[in-house]
Symmetry: C2
Amino acid sequence: MSHQDSDGTGADKEFLSTFARGLEVIRSFDTETPSMTLSAVAEKNNLSRAAARRFLLTLQKLGYVSQDDKKFGLTAKVLELGYSYLASLDFSETVTPIMEEVSYQLGESCSALVLDGVDIVYVARIPRRGLIPLNLQIGARLPAYATSGGRVLMAALQAPELEDVIEKTHFEQLTAYTKGPDALRAELQKIRSDGYAIVDQELELGMRALAVPVLDRRGTARFALNSSSHVSSVSMERIAQEYVPIMQDAAQKLTDILP
Amino acid sequence: MSHQDSDGTGADKEFLSTFARGLEVIRSFDTETPSMTLSAVAEKNNLSRAAARRFLLTLQKLGYVSQDDKKFGLTAKVLELGYSYLASLDFSETVTPIMEEVSYQLGESCSALVLDGVDIVYVARIPRRGLIPLNLQIGARLPAYATSGGRVLMAALQAPELEDVIEKTHFEQLTAYTKGPDALRAELQKIRSDGYAIVDQELELGMRALAVPVLDRRGTARFALNSSSHVSSVSMERIAQEYVPIMQDAAQKLTDILP
DNA sequence: AACAATCGTCCGATTATCGAACGGTTACAG
DNA sequence: CTGTAACCGTTCGATAATCGGACGATTGTT
């Protein structure tokens, strides 16, 4: 027996498969199948019916799923799991007010986001009044390489981690302006010296976005603040000259606050 | 028979304790302890260090936790778990636009929420421009008994379920206006005949809230729409005469859309 | 009434999980 | 640079947790 895994069986002595499978069961509920019968859950997760039933009963006893006439569905309690993460960030008291101030000064939405693999994930958001073009809620994901927030966070990575992200990224020509890996590397250099990133219609035509990194006192990037606007409402020059100082000011305030 | 547990040991043949303990480990990360050493996790969850390590390594391999110099912390990926639930509601395409319309017409925030135990949980939200008095994000909880949304959803429950909720509720005199269990029962009767609920400063002084139930075509309440405003901005009469029809109109539109 | 498609339950077989014990690392102090 | 403290990593036999095939019960349908 090898003590390393990576053999086909994948059986790792310190991998709790029951736990991992249970998490998969939670994730197997999605838009297409918001509620499933026991058998459907079993099939979707490659479990025996008996096993699927054990997972569902466990989740039910814990309050994470409810049963409605043979069909099982998630309850709002599963949001508490994600909430553990948001609570561990502890934004609501300290960070949100500063973001509201930014949103007010710019007259635009303002979001906080972190890097997770090759994606950015929204962790806080102050929306702009009016119809929201991209309806991004907390937990929403976008590809890091094509977003301003993703770029400032990538720019803050160490070389090996950055290479890892770039390698795993699936570069797609989302608009005519979307940069590829080589142009991205050059852009990251610029971002490092500038201290902010502006992305002009690379994710979606008509949208411009600005982001700055928020560092803690040790100088490590904890998350990014971003704001996006329509091309019609603001020029690139105005973003660089008016928006950037406001965002950097907010980022500095946050640095002073963060533990 | 005796196939029921409820003996002290609690060992239930169809309860996957490894899974349940793993979920607890996720939830043990909170605002006070956003990152913990292996030993801290073990202690907080009454696990041996070896066991805690297995849970953490499993979570790490799945990408839900990351390790930073002996300290473990959740990653943004745990939000995906909660996202399974939001995806299963599938609000973003259909429900949100209607809520935006309501928010625009009323000039107030508009939220969608569901009942989970004795709490309501926000599942979608269109915020009002300006400083938000209660900064409620998706996943946030409030006590059902003192909120308009909670009341319309309680009013829609069957008698035994309703009794269960009332019994489990911890009634607190949150403001001078907060109703107790008896007044609540009477109020629920009124809500059933009116088809909407207005709560006047029972949760927080200065805040009034209106909610209507959203039914599916079979007539079961799926969630509630709510809107809250400052006492200074709108009278009770205006809520009843102007706001209610707009909300009920939106609820009807949603009924036609829902599967 | 027979059928099909579910779910619930049981129980011996299997293996996943457990934890005590030991060894290693780092940090700090004398 | 020895000693101590506070961590973490690893191992392995013991044990309990989990598995799943088989059968029975239920429900809805033709």
